[in-house]
Every structure is written in C-alpha cells, then in structure tokens.
C-alpha cells in the first residue's frame, strides 16, 4: 500500500510537469457495439388540451419510428456510453487515437498498443511502422481487437514516441486497466446407464447482467465417444428446441442441456470395461449479446470417473420386462472379470421372498482371465405379483475365497396371466 501511495504522489508531480510537454494527445475508447436509441413516447388525443402538439413533436423527432411513433425502440445508433463489462471469450475492441494538439508538425510517430495480462503480453497494434509526420489537428487512428482469453486484470499499455521539430525525441505511455469477468457458470453431472452409455447434464447459467442469446452449445466428445444431443424435440422435419422459441438467457437464468455419450465400439470392446477417469469431451459455447456482440468459450476437458464395478462385474444382457406369475422365465447374465488376475468362479443362487431360482446352485463357472467375460443363461420364477427385484446371486472366487454379492440387479413386472384377459 505504501508503494502505491508514493507512486501516486510522484505521479501528481509528473502530471504538472508533463502537461505542457507533450505535443500529442492519446485517447482510447472501448468500442462495444452501439446501442439503439429508445425514446419516451408521451401521447395525447386530438381533443385533449395539447391537441396534435405532442404527436407533432414526436413526428418531428428524428429518433422516432415514422408511422409508429409510440414504438420506443428506434433505429438511431448511439455510441457506447460507458466502458461496460468485458467477459471472458468476448472480443475487446478499442479505438486508439493520437491527436496532434500542438501547432507544429511532429515526426516519426510510433504508436504501440500492448495488452498485458496476468500471463502474457500481446501486441495489438495493426502496424508497427512509424508514421513519418503528423500535421497539427491531425490524428493517427487505430482500432484494435483482441479476443479475451484470460480472467482478471488486463492492462492496455499504449506507448507513443515521436520527434519534435527541434529534433527532440519524446516518449510517453499510458496504462488502461480493466477486469475481465466470467460470463457463464457451468455445472455438469454424469449419469451412467446400465449399458455403457453416459448421460451428461450441463447447467449453463448466465452470470452477466444482460440477456444472452445462446447461439451454440455443443459437446465436442473425446475420441472415445460418440455424442447425441438431446436438446431438440423432433416434430416432423422441423426439430424444435426444448427451450422453446426464445433461445436467450436472462441474467442469472440457468439452462440445462443433455447429451448422451456412447463409447465407440472399438474402445468398448478393447477395454472390456472403461476404467477409472476418462475424458468425455468439452462443451463449446457461443453466445451473442447486444447487436451481435459475440463471445465464445470452451470448458476444460470434462472428466468422468467410470463407475467402479469391483473385481467382477455382473450385468444383464437379456431380461423380459413382464413375466407371468409362477412361470419360469430366462435371463442372461454377463460376468466380466475386471480385476488384474485370473479368477475361478462359483455361482450360487439364493432364493428371496419372491424370486425363486431354477437349476443347480453352486456350479463351477471355470477360470476367467482378466477382462474376459462369459454369458450364463439362468432360469427363475416369481411367486409374488408386482414389480419384483431380482436378487440373490453370489459369485465366489475360489482362489481368494472372496464372495461377491449381486442384489437388485434388475426388476421385472410380474402379472397374473389368468385374470388379465378377462378384465
């Protein structure tokens, strides 16, 4: 803090000295998009006291819409009225004007505009060559653009060097500091389906102060996955967005996007199971605000921890959805060795209150090497109506004497076949 105080004191002195010294003046203005002028209609009817005065004044006003003067949004463009906010992913544009305020010709003018971020320094000037001379009342203009890629403090450093008529070389710099803010808040959630599909739910919240038109929100999958976007309801040829006709987000509004990711067959097959942390992909977001001011962001790579299946994974390949009461039905289980060692497995089937297994319990399944799998058809029946959970499978690895329990593997609907046709 002391540092700052000193410098500001020193600075004041500089100012008083510098005031007379420089022949050139540097002005910088941020060029956000212009805005449309809105007027304020006050009308009366022709039999009111002012008669047609109010409407005549409005008709004469150049900013009103001719023929529809009560419409507040006119066509007149006005220049930005304040610096505004700048958000990550937007383009920072600025007008840099160097004006010769003096009454002498100034030579060899070099204007340099750099942007200093927390991590780097970028040159934004269109040209780095010097202007040979600048007459009084003339100016050098430059419009710079920079797509903002970092959050936090940015400093625009403008340096001007020139030579006076007397041959004196002069130089000055100006710093303009601004903060880059975050425009969006993105939250993601993964759901693992029983199959190898993964569903990604992404909540995108507009944390700026102005409405945002979401031009594009897409998931760029990593090489392992194919993606299906689930944000449209297709009705005939035209598919309609699940967000309705208006695709803009008001400040603080959140929108939820849904994607379905399927591992490409080569990856699904090769690995047997996808284990550990996998890279799913990244979200690519393009938005627009006032008069097409554009912004674009990508999230960092979204990562997902594949669900842990323990050493042995038991999944169902085939199961009916509806079965008859007390009638045996078939299911097919797939048993995959997810561990790093070979297993020797024994399958036990325990009856529950409602589920009764058919066949021999405690049968040997034989050796299963790592990543290998085998399919076993099983038969069972239910003695209770309604939605029933299939439970009671036990796998024991005889090498390690370890038992794995599989309950609530799936559900079937059990109906009574005798009553249904009559009713």
């Amino acid at each position: 803090m002391q540092v700052k105080g000193q410098s500001s004191a020193a600075d004041k002195m500089d100012v008083s000295q510098a005031k007379q010294e420089h022949l050139l003046a540097l002005k910088v203005m941020r060029l956000t998009k212009p805005t449309l002028f809105t007027n304020m209609p006050v009308t009366c009817e022709d039999r009111d006291l002012p008669g047609d005065l109010f409407i005549r004044l409005m008709k004469d006003d150049p900013s009103t819409v001719k023929g529809a003067e009560t419409l507040i949004l006119g066509e007149m463009l006005t220049l930005p009225q304040n610096f505004g906010n700048i958000f990550l992913g937007e383009t920072f544009s600025s007008y840099i004007s160097v004006h010769n305020d003096s009454n002498q010709v100034v030579k060899d003018i070099l204007v340099k505009a750099d942007l200093q971020t927390s991590s780097q320094r970028l040159n934004l000037s269109a040209s780095n060559s010097a202007v040979s001379e600048l007459k009084p009342e003339c100016c050098i203009d430059d419009v710079i653009h920079h797509e903002v890629k970092e959050i936090g403090t940015h400093i625009l450093v403008c340096a001007v060097s020139y030579t006076t008529q007397t041959g004196e070389k002069l130089y000055f710099r100006k710093f303009f500091k601004f903060q880059v803010l975050k425009p969006l808040d993105v939250k993601t959630k993964f759901y693992n389906a029983e199959t190898d599909e993964v569903f990604l739910e992404a909540q995108i919240q507009n944390i700026t102060t102005s409405p945002m038109f979401m031009e594009k929100v897409s998931l760029e999958p990593s090489m392992m996955y194919n993606v299906t976007e689930l944000n449209n309801v297709s009705a005939g040829i035209e598919s309609e967005s699940t967000f309705g006709r208006m695709s803009y987000l008001q400040p603080l509004d959140t929108r939820q996007y849904l994607y379905c990711l399927k591992p490409k067959p080569e990856f699904a097959e090769k690995a047997g199971v996808i284990k550990g942390v996998t890279v799913i992909g990244k979200l690519d977001i393009v938005w627009k605000t006032n008069l097409g001011e554009r912004g674009r962001l990508q999230t960092s790579q979204l990562q997902r921890m594949a669900p842990g299946y323990g050493d042995v994974r038991l999944s169902l390949e085939l199961i009916p959805d509806t079965v008859s009461l007390e009638e045996p039905f078939d299911i097919t289980c797939k048993i995959t060795n997810c561990s790093e060692r070979t297993m020797d497995l024994v399958l036990e089937m325990c009856n529950t209150r409602s589920v009764h297994w058919c066949g021999v319990s405690g049968r040997q399944l034989g050796k299963l090497s790592p990543s290998a799998s085998l399919s076993i058809p099983l038969k069972l029946l239910s003695s209770v109506q309604g939605l029933q959970s299939i439970s009671g499978l036990r796998l024991t690895d005889t090498f390690l004497k370890r038992t794995y329990e599989y309950d609530d593997i799936a559900q079937v609907c059990v109906v009574c076949p005798y009553t249904s046709p009559e009713s």
């Binding site: 500089d14 510098a18 540097l26 006291l49 066509e75 203009d141 959050i151 303009f176 993964f190 008001q250």
Partner: protein, 766 residues
C-alpha cells in the same frame, strides 16, 4: 487444495469488482471531465522502493502462482494455448495493490494511503461510466479501474467466495467421480445486485426539482377551513360568484363563462373540428340533446329500478331550464369520456345522481384533492450552462419564451409546448392551476374539478414526464389515486355538468399515470395499471359490439356513432398495448414484448411494417440475428406485396441489411448500406447518423466527425437531437483534448434553436 484456496483468495477482488461496477452503473451521471483527476502510477521504476520487498513479497509469489493456475484451470477460450506464464514485474506490483490490505500492517502511513484511495474513488468515477478511458494526464500512469472499487465496498462477501472457489477448482484439477455435480467454473457468488438498474432508458438521471418549502413527509396538508370556492356542490350561480370573488386570477382561467364557450373556447381541441358533433348553437341542439340525454338515464341499468322516475328527472335540469338546454352533450364527448368506474365509485355516483347523498356529505377520503407539490420556477438549463461556460454576456443573448412572455391561458400554454419550452409550460400550468385553487400546498383540500383543470393537470404531468422529472410527476399524481375518485366523474357535478356522464380524466392521463412507475423502477406497477385500463377498454368494446352503449347501458347508438366509438376504443386499446409492450421491452422481457407487439398488428394494420421491423431490432438487441433476419424478410415480403408504393418501404430493406451487417461486425458493408439510403433520401437523419457511427468503428474518426458536424450545422432542426449530439460529443472527446471548446460551440448552436426543455446532459459539458 492449497492451490484452490489461494486461487479463491485471488478471486475475491473479482467479486468485489462486480459490486463496484454495478454501483457505478446505478450512480448518477458522473462528471465527465474532472480537471483534478488523479491517476496512479504503475510504472515499474516507481515500485523499486525499499519497502517493497518486506512483508508483501511472500504473498506476492503466491499470488503469482494463483494467476498462473487460473489461466490454465478455468475454462478458456478455444483458441488460447496454454502458454507458460510470463510474470512481469509491473504486474506483480499491481496484483499486490489489488489485494485487500492485510490487517497486521496497521501503521499510520498505510491508513493515509487508504484515505487517498478513497479520495481517488470519489474524485473520478469515470472509468465505469465513460466509454472513453479517461486519461487526461500525460506521462506514465495508470487509471485505477478497480482499486477504488475495493475501497468503496468494505463489507465484501469474502467468506463466501472462497468456498465456491474451492469446489470449483477441486473439480477442475482432479474431478472426483462420486461428486454429483461437477461445477466446472463457479467463480462468483452472484448477488442480487445484477437485477435492478435495468430501466433507465438513456443513462440520464433525472433530478428532483422541488419547492424549497416542500417537505416530503408532509404531503397531506391538514385542512382546517373549507374555503368557499371549494364547496363541493355549489349551485351554478353560487359557483360563479364564489370563484370570481376568491380567485383574483380567474380572469385568465375562465372555465365557466358559459357552458358552450367553455367547451369551444378555452379548450379548442375539445371542440370537434371534423366529426359529426351537433352544432354548438344551443337553440338548434337543445331538442336533440335533451332527447339523447334522457334516454340513457331512464334506462340506465345501474340505477336501481325502484328509483322513481320523477326523482331522476329532478336531478337534472329539465328542458325549460335555460342552462340545461344550453348544455350539449355531444356524442363525441360521450364516446370520449366513457369509462367504467369501480363498484364503490359507481355507487357514490348513483346516490349523487339520485340526490340520496349531497356531495357535501361524501367522505373526503373518497375525493381527489390535488395541489401543486412544488412551485419554484423550472429555469433554463441551457442558459445556466451558457453562463457557466460562455459567460454572462453570451447567456444574456439566449432568448426563450417564459411563462411570463405568453398569454396566460391555453393558447400561451400551447405556444410554450410547441416551441419546446416545456419547463416554462410547467410553470404556466402551475399558475393556471393555482388560479383554480389547486395551487401549491392545496393538496388535501376539497376542490372542484372541471374538464379544464384535469386537462391542465394532464398537460403538466405529461410535460414533467417528458422532462424526465418522474419523481415530481409521481408526487403530484399521488392525490389522484387510481383516477377513480367519484369527483373525477361528470355525474358528481349534476348542476355544473347537467347530463354529462363519464370520466373527466382524459384517457391519455390514465395511460400516463400507468406508464409513470416504470420510469421509477416499478415496472410491475405499470403493467398492473395498464392491464386495468386494458380490461376496461375491452369491456367497453364488448359492450359496443353487443349493441349497448360504452358503459353497458341500453342506449341506442346510431350505426355511425357505434362504429366511430368502436374505432376510438380500438385505437385506445392499441395505445395501451403499445405501452405494455414498451414496458416489457424496458424490463427486458423480450418474449412477452415481442408477443405484445405482434398482437398490436391486428389493431394497427397500417403499422405492420414498422412493428415487424421493430421486432426484428429487438432480436438484434438480444443477439438472435437469425430470427431478426426472418422478421426483416417478412417485412420485405409485405412491402413487395404492397407493390412498393412508398419510398420509406423501399429503403427499409436496405436499412435492415445494414443492421444485419452491423451485427456481423461488418461495419464496412453496413456503412455502404446506410450511405445508399442517403442517395435516395439525403436528409434521412437515421441513415446519416448511423453511417457516421459505422465510420467510427472503421477507424475513420475524422470523417465520421466531419459528417455529423456538417449535418448539425446545416440542418440543426433535424440533428440537434440528443442522440446525435451525444454521438458527436463522444467523438469530440475521443478526438482531441480540446473537446470542451467544441462542445461549447454546440451549446451555442443549441442556444439559438432549442427551448428550455433541451436535455443538456447530452452535451457532456458537466
């Protein structure tokens, strides 16, 4: 984890910045050029001071690391590579400055610095409000955009911010799979502050002008003596003597000379110039007037059927009464004044009409008792500015009409309005209302309303709104309540307005009353009021369509009359819808606004083109260029089917194309389009201004400036408009350090042409 916390710390200033930015947005228009502006040096050399590397150096390194982390972790722009961090000295120091002060460094010197910082913040609020970076001083220094904000907001929400941070970064670095939600980037704990400031249309803040003797709390003036003028129901003759006796100024406020002249002379517009109103001559019109007038009363459903007819007739002067026969309730008046009072008000009005209750007995709570809330002169801001910048002598030359220099009647008032001397016009309405006994401090005292007094109020309040003096308008509107007091209806004054029915409050005043709250950040109130008006309009329309009179009474209207009335009420309904759509647009509820504008097309088919084009512009404003283009195409199709009869339709598609180019950042083509409009219509102010704006974005400041400047000087009538002048002064500021002189030249141009209602803020001189 450690990193995450540090990073969070590092982000605290960001959160604060948001606060700060909003504050400045909401603040009133800051001074644009402050000669004593302070800037703070961030030059590297200045920081090489012995104190520098003491207590701060350690945290400095941390912070640097934070910066590095941040650039990698947080979602970044697609094209950015993740480079190595290049720490630069100046940045180090600058970061240090940003950091809120550490509590252990409590030496006095530091406190002094704090104070200085505050000074800085107080002295130069420009950064957030002026697009132009304000950096007047030469040499090497930096304008502190954010430091001051930190000092401005001492009660920062630091404890919350780090938490969100932690979770965010945790996820980023190594996302734990069991976490349900993966917050990829949660940087800010967003406050409520994002909402508010939406509704100021142009960034200009109105200032409250009030009487020096006026205090806000004391709105209700206790009324001890009832002055004679204000007796609620005097007989006609009594009324005249009273008013002339008590109001010495009544010579210029002559509402009640005779009933006919009252309509035709004092408010010339109330007279029907073209429509089929009965002739004003009492002799000719008397029989018809009596006829049309008695039927409704007799069959009026509101009147309890038990009411004996003779009693009813007694209320109103019979045909042989000289006054009664002289009074004409034209169809036009009936149509225009129709309104549906609330149930309570209607009951009071019926009991007055049937003489069950004398108006004297009516509870004062139920009456509208307006009075001026401020009586000081409004002055002339242009002249004040001239005095300040150009000296007294120049200011003396400024000639504008004042309330004194015109006739003290409606004609003078209209002259002031048409010459854009609205401030003087407000003064004059004040005088005229004072003469009517509704002057300063009369609020809360019983009074008589007349057609003219309400018209005066309407004009006064409308002008206050036009002048953006919204608080004043609200204060003076307040005694009128919901514009539904019984004494605001003609039926309340059976002796003064025998036979006349309906609302004394002009419809436009109801719309104005409804529109007002939105300018005071109460848009919901505006919508509520507008919906109320809308439902009355719809009820009246449905009455008319069912063959009833406007108010639902069983009255036979001639076909012409009915059609004219339907037309009037449809146009009123569309006016209300316009207000709604405009209000929704200001609330940024674009969806409803677009829908409402759409539904207006049905009522105003001739405005279809403008409305569709306006909807297109709304979509451009949102950023939805594709939909905007769709609307623009619709407009063109509409134009083509009409066979391009009008020039303005011809160039509308060029203008549309220009706007689309503009939103694609293609300023060159946008400029070409606007210029091509100018070839057809060289005086088109919109195209001229917009072409100049495009030039600026193309880096052609001098050309742009030249174009606007020549326009303003060549055709001041069209271009001395605040939007154009605002653009021009902004460019002056960008162009040279001598912008003030150029702005003063503009002020002189304004002074010769514009009235006292000119909004001087667009000159950005103060």
């Amino acid at each position: 984890m450690q990193n995450a916390i540090e990073n969070a710390k590092c982000h605290v200033p960001v959160t604060l910045d948001i606060d700060g930015a909003d504050e400045t947005l909401e603040a009133s228009v800051p001074p644009q050029t402050d000669p004593t502006e302070e800037s703070i040096d961030l030059d590297a050399e200045a920081f090489v001071s012995p104190q520098d590397d003491s207590s701060h150096s350690e945290s400095l390194v941390d912070k640097l690391n934070d910066q590095m982390m941040e650039s990698v972790m947080i979602s970044d722009s697609p094209n950015s590579e993740e480079e190595d961090v290049v720490p630069i000295d100046s940045l180090l120091e600058q970061n240090e400055e940003e950091e809120p002060k550490t509590p252990d460094d409590a030496d006095t010197e530091e406190r002094i610095e704090d104070v200085r910082n505050k000074d800085v913040s107080a002295a130069e609020p420009e950064e957030a409000s002026g697009a132009l970076f304000k950096e007047e001083n030469e040499g090497e220094k930096i304008v502190q955009v954010d430091d001051k904000r930190e000092t401005v907001a001492p009660d920062d929400p630091k404890p919350e911010a780090p938490k969100t941070q932690e979770s965010a970064l945790e996820m980023d670095s190594d996302s734990t799979p069991k976490d349900e939600a993966v917050p990829v980037c949660t940087i800010f704990s967003q406050g409520v502050q994002l909402k508010a400031q939406a509704l100021i249309p142009d960034g200009f803040q109105p200032t409250l002008v009030k009487s020096p003797s006026f205090t806000i709390g004391n709105t209700e003036t206790p009324n001890k003596l009832v002055p004679q003028v204000c007796q609620p129901s005097p007989s006609l003759s009594k009324f005249f003597t009273d008013s002339s006796a008590v109001n010495p100024a009544s010579d210029f406020f002559d509402s009640f000379t005779t009933s006919t002249s009252f309509v035709s002379i004092s408010n010339p517009n109330a007279e029907s110039p073209k429509a089929a109103a009965p002739p004003e001559s009492p002799l000719v019109s008397a029989p018809t007037a009596a006829g049309t007038y008695f039927t409704p009363v007799a069959t009026k459903p509101q009147v309890a059927p038990a009411e004996p007819m003779n009693k009813l007739q007694a209320v109103f002067p019979s045909g042989d009464d000289p006054f009664g026969s002289a009074l004409v309730t034209s169809d036009l008046d009936k149509r225009r004044d129709a309104w549906l009072p609330s149930e309570d008000t209607r009951r009071v009005l019926i009991s007055v009409a049937t003489q069950q209750v004398s108006p004297v007995q009516i509870d004062r709570e139920q009456l509208a008792m307006p009075g001026l809330k401020f009586d000081n002169l409004q002055g002339d801001a242009v002249k004040d500015l001239m005095q300040r910048f150009l000296g007294d002598q120049a200011a003396m030359k400024r000639q504008v009409l004042s309330a004194n220099s015109v006739e003290q009647n409606f004609l003078g008032l209209k002259r002031l309005i048409s010459t854009k001397n609205w401030r003087a016009a407000v003064d004059l309405t004040g005088r005229l209302l004072t003469a009517h006994g509704q002057g300063y401090g009369k609020s809360g005292q019983p009074t008589n309303h007349t057609t003219d007094s309400l018209q005066l109020w309407f004009v006064r309040l409308a002008l206050l709104v036009k002048l953006s003096l919204f608080q004043n308008a609200e204060l003076e509107f307040e005694p009128f309540g919901n514009l539904d007091h019984p004494d605001l209806y003609y039926e309340y004054y059976p002796t003064v307005y025998p036979g006349r029915r309906g609302s004394m409050v002009p419809f436009s005043m109801r719309v104005l009353h409804a529109e007002l709250p939105q300018y005071l950040q109460k848009p919901q109130e505006t919508l509520d009021r507008l919906h109320r008006i809308k439902s009355v309009c719809q009820k009246i329309l449905s009455n008319l369509q069912e063959g009833l009179a406007e108010d639902g009474s069983m009255m036979n209207l001639t076909q012409d009359n009915r059609l004219a009335s339907i037309q009037l009420w449809r146009s009123r309904l569309s006016r209300v819808m316009y207000s709604m759509a405009n209000c929704l647009l200001m609330m940024k509820d674009y969806m409803l606004a677009v829908e409402t504008y759409h539904s207006i097309i049905e009522y105003e088919p001739e405005q279809r083109v403008q409305l569709l084009s306006g909807i297109g512009r709304i979509f451009l404003q949102i950023g939805d260029i594709r939909t905007a283009e769709k609307y623009f195409q619709d407009v063109e199709k509409g134009c083509q089917s009409k066979g391009k009869t009008c020039l303005c339709f011809c160039d509308c598609d060029v203008v549309h194309r220009a706007f689309v180019y503009l939103s694609q950042n293609n300023y060159a083509d946008a400029h070409t389009c606007f210029s091509s409009v100018l070839e057809l219509d060289p005086k088109n102010p919109v195209a001229n201004n917009n072409a100049a704006v495009c030039l600026l974005y193309l880096g052609r400041l001098k050309e742009s400036l030249g174009q606007l400047e020549s326009l303003v000087h060549k055709d001041p009538a069209l271009y001395l408009h605040e939007s154009v002048l605002f653009n021009l002064t902004t460019m002056y500021e960008l162009e040279s350090s001598r912008s003030t002189q150029k702005k003063q030249a503009l002020l002189e141009a304004v002074a010769c042409r514009e009235g006292d209602s000119f909004n001087v803020q667009c000159l950005k001189l103060v």
